[in-house]
Symmetry: D2
Subunit: 348 residues, 4 copies
C-alpha cells in the first residue's frame, strides 16, 4: 500500500477525497492536514462531515496536523484540496520535501512545467514531471487536474477533436452549488433563483480546455487551435454540472459517427484498468430529457460523463449540439486527482 | 370601458390574465370561459387559484361558460389562454363571431395572415388584420404573441438588429417551471435537478424570433436573415426565464454602444403611453451577478426585460455575450396579449 | 431461489421494488405486471425509470403482463405497489390463486384478519395468516406493511413503549414529495413553498401506529392505549420523511435511558440476520442538527431510522422531544414489504 | 414627518426596514448606520441589495454613518436591525442620547423594564417606557418586538387566550431561510433537505409568547399560566414561517367559535387605523391545503397572519389543531418594529 495524505482535509473536497479513498486497494490515508485551528484534534472533532455517507472509521480518530510537510511523515502522495492562494505557497513545499502532490487547486495549473492532466485525455503531459523536477530541484512533484466544468467538457471534446475538425465551440453551463464549497452559495441566493456568474470560471474553461487538447512536444504545450467561448451559471442543484454545447465543424458529419466516437472512447486508465477509471468514460443517452444531474451524476461511481441530446444543429451547417453532465466533486475534483495519482503510480 | 373575456380562464395563464386585468383602466372582464366541467360554476368554485394574489373580487362570483362564442355576449376582445390544439379550433370561431382574439396560444402564430406581434418590436405587422379579415371573411380577428422565451429574446435583439449587423446567435435558456403550466413539471423531476429539454421550444425560438424581426411589406413577412440556434433547459425556478446569449456581429462594436442601444430602446407602446407598457423595456444591470429570476422578474410589473453581463467575447472577434431575463407568465404570456390588445384598441 | 413478481411494476414504488430486489440472495424477479397499456411491452419500454440507478439488466427485456394472477405463473410471492383501489380488487385474487402477497397498499391494512406488520415491531401478528387462509379459503395470503410515515414513527415508539409508559404523543411530519408518487406533487406546488396537508395521512398514522403496538391474542389486535395526534406537511425534499415528536410519559425518566432504549433496540429480523434487516434499526445522532433527510436517509441502505435531538421537554414534566427520519420509499415502502416477505420466507 | 434612522441598515432586516419605510406617510429616513467598513460610503455602494424590489431612490445616495448616536443628528426614532450582541451595547446609547429605539434585536427583550410588544396583543406594556426612563435616566427609550416565529404564534393565541381557557400548546415550526440572515443558511445545507434545529429559537418562543400574553400590573409582567413547548425546523423556503399548533383547552369548544375568534380579532392598531396595521390581522382559510408560504406570506402587505386547517383533534378531547403562517421578515421583524413605532408615535 502507498501511504497518502489529504491536504485541506476538513473542507468539502477534502471530505470527498477521504470518502473516495476509504476503500482504495492501493492508497492508504496516513495523514490529514488542515488549518492551525483544527491541528491537534481528532478528525471527527475537527470536521463537520457534509457528505451523505458516514466518516470512514479509519480516519475518525486520526489526529489532524498543520498543512506543513514537516508534520507529514512517510507519505508518498498528498492530495490537495487547498484553496488556490494557500496551495500556491504550500504545494511547492510538499514537492520540495519529496512528495508527489496531486492537486485539485487552480494555483499551479497553467505553470509551463506543471502537468494539467485528465488521464483519458492527455496522459502524455505527465512527462513534464521530469522537466519540473529538473527545473525546480524537487524530488517530489506537482500534478494538477483541471477545473470541474472543464474536465467534463474536455472529456467529451477529446474523441471529437481526434476524429473531426472542430472549428468553434460555445458552452453554457448550469453548475451545482457544491462547486463553490459548503458555504459558497447562500440559500438566499439560489432558492427559486439562479446566478448567471461564477468568478473566473469562464476564463478557466476557455484556457484549460485548449491546453488539455493541445500538442505536447515533450517540453511545452501548444493549445488546441479552435475557439471556445463559455457562459457560466449557478443553479439550485446540489451536485452535478450540466453544460449545453454548440459546436461548428470544418466538415459535415453524421450524428451517428459523433455518438460512436463518444461511445467508443477509451483512454489509458481504461486500458490499464485503474481502480478509479470508469469502464465507459462517456455514456450516451438516447432519451430526449437526459442527462439530468440527480439521475446521472453517480453513473459509474460518479467518474463517467453522461451525454445526451446529441443532434445536428438545424440552423447552422456542419454544426452539432449536445448536453453533457459530470459529477463536479467526484469526476470534477477529488476523483480526478485520485485518477491522476493512480496513473502516475502505475506508469512511473 | 371595453368588455373583454378570458378563454381558458381557470388555468395558470388564464389566472394571470384575470389578475393583470383586474384593475385595468380600459378593459373590463365580463366573460370567463373554460371546459364543460367548469361551465355553470362560479369562478371561485371552478378554479383553484395558484397565484400569490387573491382572486379579484369582481370575478369571484362570475359564472364560467363554455368556450363557445355563442355563450359570450357583448364582448369585444377575448384573451386566449387555451392549449394549442383547442385554440386552433375555437379561436377562428370567436373571430368569425366578430370578436378580436388576442391569443397566447401557438396554434395560429405562423399563419401568414395572422400577426405575430410584440408591440415594441413589430407593431407594423398588425396591418395583417385587414388581410386576415378579407381572406377569411371575419368581422373579428386573431392576433398572437410569441412564445415566452422568444419574447424576452426578441426584445433584446430588436435594438441590436436595428443598429448593428447580427451574423449569428446562439442562445441557451434556463426556463422556469411555470412555463409548463401548473401540473407540467412534477417536483420529482426538478428538485435538486434540471431537465435539458422542453418539447418544441427550440423550434419556436428559432422560427418566431426571425419572423418578429423580419421585413414586412404590408402583406408578407420575410424572416430576418441571420442564424439563431437554441438549446432549452428547465430549471427549478418558479417564474422567470433566463437566457445566455452568444452573438457574432458583422462589424466590430463598442460594448458601451450595445448597452446604450438596450437602454435607449423604446417602442410604440412607450410612445403611446399604453397602460401595460413598461417605461423602460430593457433594463441594463451592471452587477456581475444579475439578472436573477427571483430578484428581477417583477421589474416594472414584470413587463420589462432585464439584461446583464453585457460583455465582449474574449475568444471570438466581433462577438458579444449577455444574459437576459423576462417574466414568462407576465411579459412572456398574459401581459404580452394584453399589450397587443391595448395597442390595437389605441390605433385601430 | 424463490420466484417473485412485482405488481404495479412501472410506478415509483414498483421501481424501488425492482431496484432493491435486483441483487437479492433469495428472491428472483420472474414476473412484472402493470396496467393494460404496458402489458406486452419490454419493461424498459414500458417504464420511464425515475431512480438514480440504472434499470437492472435482468428485467430490462422482461415482458410486462396484465395485473392478473392468470398471467403470472410459477411465482410464490408478489410484491404489490398497486394504488389502494386497485389493490382492493386484485390482491385477493392473487392470494386466492395461491400466492403470498406482500403489499405496500393501504387497501387491506385494517382488515381484522390481515397482518399489518413491521418485522422489528410486531412479527407475532403474522400468525393471522392462518386465520386469514381459513376465513377466506385461500392457499395464498396477504400481508401488509404500514404507511411510510407510520413505519418510521412506530419503530421509534416500540422500544419506548416496551420500557416506559407512554401517555400521549403529538407528531408533526415534514414529508418528502416522493411519497405522493412521481406525478403527485407539481413543482409549482412546492418550490419555495410547503403544503400543510396530505390527504388521509394523519388518520393512517393515528390508527396504524396504535394497531402495530397493540396486544395480539392470536386472533385479534387490541390497539395500544395511549393517544397519538398527527399533523402532516409536505416539504420540498425528494426522499426522506422527518417527524418531530412530543411525548408525555406516565413516570419521569432519564434521557440517557431513552437513548439506550433506542440504541439497543433489535427485533426478530436482526436476530435472524435477514438480508434486508438493518443491523441497527435505530441510529441515535448526538449532533444538534441531525437527522437531516439528504444526509441520513440512506443510512444502512435506507432501512434504519435515524433519531436526533433526544431531549427532555423543559416545559412539561415527564415529557420527551425528539426528531426522527426514515427513507419513505425504502424503509417506508418497498423495503418494508421485502422485509416482511423475508421474515415469512424464513419462519413459515 | 418624523425623522427616523435605521441601525444596521445594510443587512437583510435593515433592507426590509428601508423598503417598508420608503413610502411611509409619517416617517422619513434621514440616517442609516452600519459597521465601520461601510461608514462613509453611499448606501448603494455599501449595501448589496437582496430584496426583489429596487433600492428606494431616496436612500441610494445617503451616506452611511457609524452606529453611534453622535453620528446621528435630528432623529427621533431609530429602528434597530443589529445583531443581539451589538444591540446590547449600542441600543442603550441611543436611548440615553434621547432617541426612541424600536428594536428587532433579542438583546433587551426580557429586561423587566423594556416593553416586548405586539401592538395587537399587549400594547399596554408600552407603559413600561416611563418606568424604563425613570430607572435608567434616559430621555429616549427602547421598545422591542418578539422573535419572528413568536409574533405569528402569539397573534393567533391572543384571541383564543381571551375567549377560551388554554391548557397546553405544542408547536412545531417550519421556518424560512431568510430568518437566519442572508448568509445564515448555506444552500448545501438546505437543498433537498431540512435542518431540525435553530439555535435558541425554541427557548425564545416558549418564553416570549407567555410574556406577551401575561398580566401587566403597570410595573411587571406575570407570564401567562399555560405550558407551551416548541420544536423548530428550517425548511427550503425563502420567506414565511409555518407553524403547526396542537392545543388543549380546559373546556370543550366549537370549531366555529375558534374561527370566529380568529376572524373577529382586532387590536389597537386596527382601531387607530395605523398605516402598517393589517385590516384583518388573522385571515382564516377554509381550503384543506392552506396556508402556504409562497401563496400567503404577502397577504395584507405581509402584515397579516394566515391560519388554516382549524380543526378539532380527533384523538384528544377538548383539543384543537391548526396551522399558521406569517411573513418572518415583514410581520416577524421590520414590520413589527415599525408598527410599534407607529403606535408609540400615535399614543404617546
Amino acid at each position: 500500500m502507498v501511504n497518502v495524505g489529504v491536504l485541506g482535509a476538513t473542507g468539502m473536497v477534502g471530505q470527498r477525497f477521504i470518502e473516495l479513498l476509504s476503500d482504495h486497494p492501493k492508497f492508504e490515508i496516513t495523514a490529514l492536514t488542515a488549518s492551525a485551528r483544527s491541528a491537534g484534534k481528532r478528525y471527527s472533532d475537527a470536521a463537520t462531515w457534509h457528505l451523505d455517507s458516514q466518516i470512514p472509521e479509519a480516519v475518525q480518530d486520526m489526529v489532524v496536523v498543520d498543512t506543513d510537510p514537516k508534520q507529514v511523515e512517510d507519505v508518498e502522495i498528498v492530495f490537495s484540496a487547498l484553496p488556490a492562494e494557500h496551495a500556491a505557497i504550500v504545494e511547492p513545499q510538499f514537492a520540495a520535501a519529496g512528495m508527489g502532490v496531486a492537486s485539485n487547486a487552480s494555483a499551479m495549473r497553467m505553470e509551463p512545467d506543471v502537468p494539467l492532466v485528465i488521464p483519458e485525455v492527455n496522459p502524455e503531459q505527465l512527462e513534464l514531471i521530469e522537466t519540473q523536477q529538473k527545473n525546480r530541484g524537487w524530488e517530489g512533484f506537482i500534478v494538477t487536474n483541471p477545473n470541474c466544468s472543464t474536465i467534463a467538457l474536455a472529456m467529451t471534446l477529446k474523441p471529437l477533436y481526434d476524429e473531426f475538425d472542430i472549428q468553434r465551440v460555445y458552452v453554457s453551463t448550469m453548475q451545482a452549488v457544491s462547486g463553490a464549497g459548503y458555504n459558497g452559495v447562500p440559500s438566499m441566493a439560489i432558492l427559486d433563483n439562479l446566478v448567471p456568474f461564477i468568478g473566473g470560471e469562464e476564463e478557466k474553461i476557455e484556457s484549460e480546455t485548449l491546453h488539455l487538447l493541445g500538442d505536447f512536444d515533450g517540453e511545452t504545450v501548444t493549445p488546441a487551435g479552435f475557439g471556445l467561448s463559455a457562459s457560466c451559471h449557478r443553479v439550485p442543484v446540489v451536485d452535478g454540472h450540466t453544460e449545453a454545447v454548440f459546436m461548428e465543424m470544418e466538415q459535415d458529419f453524421a450524428v451517428e459517427d459523433v455518438k460512436s466516437a463518444f461511445r467508443n472512447f477509451k483512454g489509458l486508465p481504461q486500458k490499464l484498468g485503474l481502480h478509479f477509471a470508469p469502464p465507459t468514460p462517456i455514456i450516451v443517452r438516447e432519451e430526449d430529457n437526459r442527462p439530468q444531474p440527480r439521475m446521472d451524476r453517480l453513473t459509474q461511481k460518479g467518474m463517467a460523463v453522461t451525454v445526451g441530446r446529441v443532434r445536428k444543429d438545424d440552423v447552422f451547417p456542419k454544426s452539432l449540439k449536445y448536453v453533457l453532465l459530470g459529477h463536479n466533486t467526484v469526476r470534477g475534483a477529488a476523483g480526478a486527482s485520485i485518477l491522476n495519482a493512480e496513473l502516475i503510480n502505475e506508469i512511473m
